[in-house]
Symmetry: C2
Subunit: 319 residues, 2 copies
């Protein structure tokens, strides 16, 4: 369209490890990217980091969309179990809009990631789909009856807090037996540390050091699996089994045709991870959809950024 | 409306214990009722019983709606874990339509029960609601974003097969750890028998005999609770705890504002049962809706019949 200037929107994906930003064009293309480690000092630091990151992109976006790993309602973040020192409700949309001078839309990171995949990725055109985001925590998003589903207050999709074991492991949310307590990267790191303290050996922490990472990142897990580390295999097996059980419950409740696996771990392990989760899920499903598919995210790291930008377009600037 | 004859539709509620029929008027009023024990010889016997029961009502209905405790897709029953000797897919709609000479609509019993409550009962006007039907098995139905949700093939809502314990008790569906294995009346009867064989005592089976019931019906459970039977209290406590956990997972996934408790046990135990399930659920909910309510079915036994008739009106005769 010569003569028509492309409207750029910034999509921001706030993770437990990194904050990523992308300047996204009309057709969901990411024109430029930026990234910074997620600060651990609470909401003020996170808001400043987001604003600095968006400004650092050079071009001024028409709007900003933000996906955040917590329960989001009406532009406010209600709870964020996987960001350090964030204990209060914060109106992220207006706080950021004040700093950046453009409208800001806010969503849950997994909802926003699935929105990206649904508009331009692995869930494109799906009518009934679940997105499972495997990162620091376990996020989830839903497409039901052909549209994103957010629930009564936008708090839907918390697959990570489906309970798989009544008397189970302690979760970062303070409850017991949530699937995130078995399959979230933070929980898996905690279990690995406990096992090492109990005398088990693993190359996980050597690999972490070798890679110069501050924690057991998805890359560290992927390398440990590659190198045949027994504990890494054991913990990933348990994570896959846990996710399979939670997704099985979810399919029995919602009768879906598609499950998209995304997030850091999916980015590193690819379709084989989605296949393994499919195999772990099927035994739990009462009446599996004959065309039920498990696919890995095709947008990868960009899913959150693309989805957040699309959210901003839809809710703030109307296209 | 003088001069306008009311259009009567038959609603049929097929349960693990009884088949109930109602002739239902335009405004969801049940004009006449009938009931027969559910035969245990498989689909042919069940179809004959339904047809005989509908014929026995005297008036010829304009259509028939049927709710059945299984996975229903396109008028076919795919699986029915709680009816005896029913192992094949059966096109209940056309089979019954042939016998009765009127159009027949088919739905899952819990979906249909919640439809009744949503049109004219405890869930009237709800935007995001779960129906939990506590009978022979545990059924579930969903209202999402202001309309009934059935999933990709109409198999959604199977709350009874949300898994609450990875290595848990055997369920009637053949899997392990489903909430129905703890809270379905059939499973509870099996556990009670096993406990008696193991030397525990209970008045449950004496009450059953005294009431002349072929099994531990909801009435038997209610009386045992009333009379302070320890085992009855123990098993109902476990059922409530299990339902609370499953509903908690469901609320974390779907962010609902209302949970309706129905079915035989709810009919006998009333709002206190809904209150207890509310208390058992809340500790599992990540971010409970501030107006979250747990209410007992107001249509009671009529929910399934009213919902089935409404399904027939909507899908077969267009009003």
């Amino acid at each position: 369209m010569s003569g028509t200037e492309e409207l750029l929107v910034a999509g921001v994906d706030v993770g437990g490890t990194n904050i990523e930003v992308g300047l996204v064009g009309d057709g969901h293309e990411v024109r430029a990217r930026g990234k910074v480690a997620t600060p651990d000092g609470g909401p003020e630091e996170v808001l400043t980091a987001i604003a600095d990151l968006v400004r650092s992109m050079g071009a001024e976006p028409a709007a900003v969309g933000v996906g955040i790993p917590g329960v989001v309602h009406d532009g406010r973040v209600l709870t964020v179990p996987n960001l350090e020192n964030w204990h209060e409700h914060v109106a992220v949309d207006s706080e950021l809009a004040d700093r950046l001078g453009v409208p800001v839309a806010l969503g849950n990171d997994a909802d926003v990631g699935l929105l990206g995949e649904w508009l331009d990725g692995a869930a494109k055109g799906a009518t009934n789909a679940l997105g499972v985001w495997m990162g620091t925590g376990i996020g989830g998003g839903l497409i039901l009856d052909g549209r994103p589903y957010h629930g009564a207050r936008g708090a839907a999709g918390e697959l990570g807090h489906v309970i798989i074991r009544a008397d189970g492991a302690l979760c970062s949310c303070g409850r017991r037996g949530c699937v995130e307590a078995y399959a979230g990267r933070r929980s898996m790191a905690r279990i690995a540390s406990a096992l090492v303290e109990a005398g088990r050996s693993t190359s996980l922490f050597d690999i972490q050091q070798d890679e110069g990472k501050p924690r057991l990142t998805s890359k560290v897990w992927a390398r440990a699996l590659d190198e045949g580390d027994e504990m890494a295999h054991e913990l990933i097996d348990a994570a896959v089994a846990g996710i399979g059980l939670a997704v099985g419950s979810c399919l029995n409740l919602l009768d879906l045709e598609l499950v998209v696996i995304g997030g850091g771990l999916a980015e590193k392990l690819g379709q084989p991870l989605a296949d393994r989760i499919g195999s772990a899920t099927r035994p739990w499903v009462l009446q599996p959809h004959p065309d039920l598919q498990f696919v890995v995210s095709t947008l990868g790291d960009d899913a959150g950024v693309v989805g957040a930008a699309a959210l901003a377009r839809a809710s703030v600037i109307g296209h």
